[in-house]
């Protein structure tokens, strides 16, 4: 493996193109997660190149440590931090874009210029060094010449872990509020004492965006998750009022009126036609045992 074989050349060219493209993703990706994923791709490709270059040990370490540990850490933090305006690629510092591009391209030109114009010795290859296997060779050097460095690096890792603990440690400034305190607060405030029901409870269908119904058949708006409410993805509360429900039941009972979507008053239609034209349906609107009906619907698959 002194000089790269044709197969290696093919592999290299394929991986090189992929890697540069993925690295460019780091520059242009609008979402941080995409940037992280493209970096993962670069790192995996690098692992291939390491293996090709006679460093299988490093290739494995690359996958395990970088891709498996470090990049996962990145993703965790990304999830923790969440979506942020800083993800935007719009430049805010005047002139920084030009300077950045100029410096980046300049660096590339200089590096490439130096690397291509430099004179290299004949390729020795790692055949001799890897005679006992690459991990063995690497281990000999690490635990031979660089054993002290290894110890120092070990200490460094411990210190880094402690440092991360210290940096992210938060001193509790207020008294910790636990369940009894919460309960006491709730009682004092005189608002809802019980926990909120899950969305969809007693409603016609059991979905996240459907408010639960209280014993009187009124929808409980707060039961829908806050995020959905803010986003406006909540199903209209009015359409889930018990009244609506009763008519829907009668509608189902009367197969003549056969547009369930309209009758059900799903969010797509948004309208409540049954309420608009009660006379047309001609269905009985009174004396329905709500409890029985609801039980009936519940039991009906």
């Amino acid at each position: 493996m002194n000089d790269p074989s044709t197969a290696e050349a093919v592999l290299f060219w394929v991986l090189a193109v992929v890697m540069v493209a993925a690295a460019a993703g780091l520059l242009f990706a609008r979402k941080a997660v995409h940037a992280a994923m493209s970096l993962v791709l670069v790192m995996i490709c690098l692992a291939f190149l390491y293996v090709t270059q006679g460093a299988p040990f490093l290739g494995v370490v690359q996958v395990v440590v970088y891709t498996g540990a470090i990049m996962m850490l990145f993703l965790f933090v990304l999830m923790l931090v969440g979506v942020d305006a800083s993800d935007s690629v719009v430049e805010t510092i005047k002139g920084q874009r030009w300077v950045g591009w100029l410096a980046g391209i300049g660096l590339a030109v200089v590096l490439i210029g130096v690397l291509t114009r430099a004179t290299y010795p004949a390729v020795t290859g790692l055949a001799d060094a890897n005679a006992d296997g690459n991990p063995t060779g690497v281990a000999r050097i690490i635990f031979g010449q660089h054993v002290f460095g290894l110890e120092v690096v070990g200490a460094l890792l411990v210190i880094a872990a402690l440092g991360a603990l210290v940096l992210t440690h938060r001193t509790r400034l207020k008294k910790l509020i636990k369940q009894p305190e919460r309960q006491a607060l709730r009682m004092k405030a005189g608002t809802r004492v019980t926990p909120l029901p899950a969305p969809g409870v007693y409603a016609r269908h059991n979905a996240m965006d459907v408010p639960a119904l209280d014993p009187h058949g009124n929808p409980i708006e707060e039961s829908v998750p806050r995020v959905l409410r803010i986003r406006g993805q909540e199903a209209g509360t009015a359409s889930y009022h018990a009244d609506t429900y009763r008519r829907a039941v009668t509608a189902v009972a009367d197969p003549v009126d056969s547009d369930p979507a309209v009758l059900l008053g799903t969010e797509e239609s948004g309208a409540t036609p049954p309420a608009a034209a009660p006379g047309e349906t001609g269905g009985p609107l009174t004396d329905v045992d709500l409890g029985a009906a609801s039980t009936k619907t519940e039991t009906e698959p």
């Binding site: 290299f12 690295a23 690098l46 006679g54 800083s86 391209i105 290299y120 690459n134 460095g149």
Partner: protein, 99 residues
């Protein structure tokens, strides 16, 4: 095809990493740019190791990885801690040293 190609690839990746540091505002992506630069240098180390038939280059790359791991731990901890206090992950918002 020669080993120089590997080195040029390493240089290009390094430059892209550097440009990322300069151009992106999200601290985490900036950090990824740094990681890319480290990886690029690792590639160069591995290539030189092959060129000289000496495994020390690989050992150096190994050490770089270890140090990078430590660095990531601390760096991300800093980012998280800053995010907690300033509710932002933008490196441009951390300019308290100005004035």
């Amino acid at each position: 095809m020669s080993l120089t190609h590997y080195l040029v690839l390493s240089g290009i990746l390094f430059s892209i990493g550097a440009a990322t540091v300069l151009l992106r505002r999200n601290a985490i992506i900036v950090f990824m740019g740094v990681e890319l630069m480290l990886n690029a240098s690792n590639l160069a180390l591995v290539t030189f190791s092959r060129l000289h038939g000496n495994l020390t280059g690989q050992v150096m790359a190994f050490f770089v990885m270890v140090v990078a791991a430590a660095e990531v731990v601390v760096g991300l901890a800093i980012i998280v801690s800053i995010f907690r206090t300033r509710k932002s992950a933008s490196v441009d918002d951390i300019n308290l040293l100005k004035s």
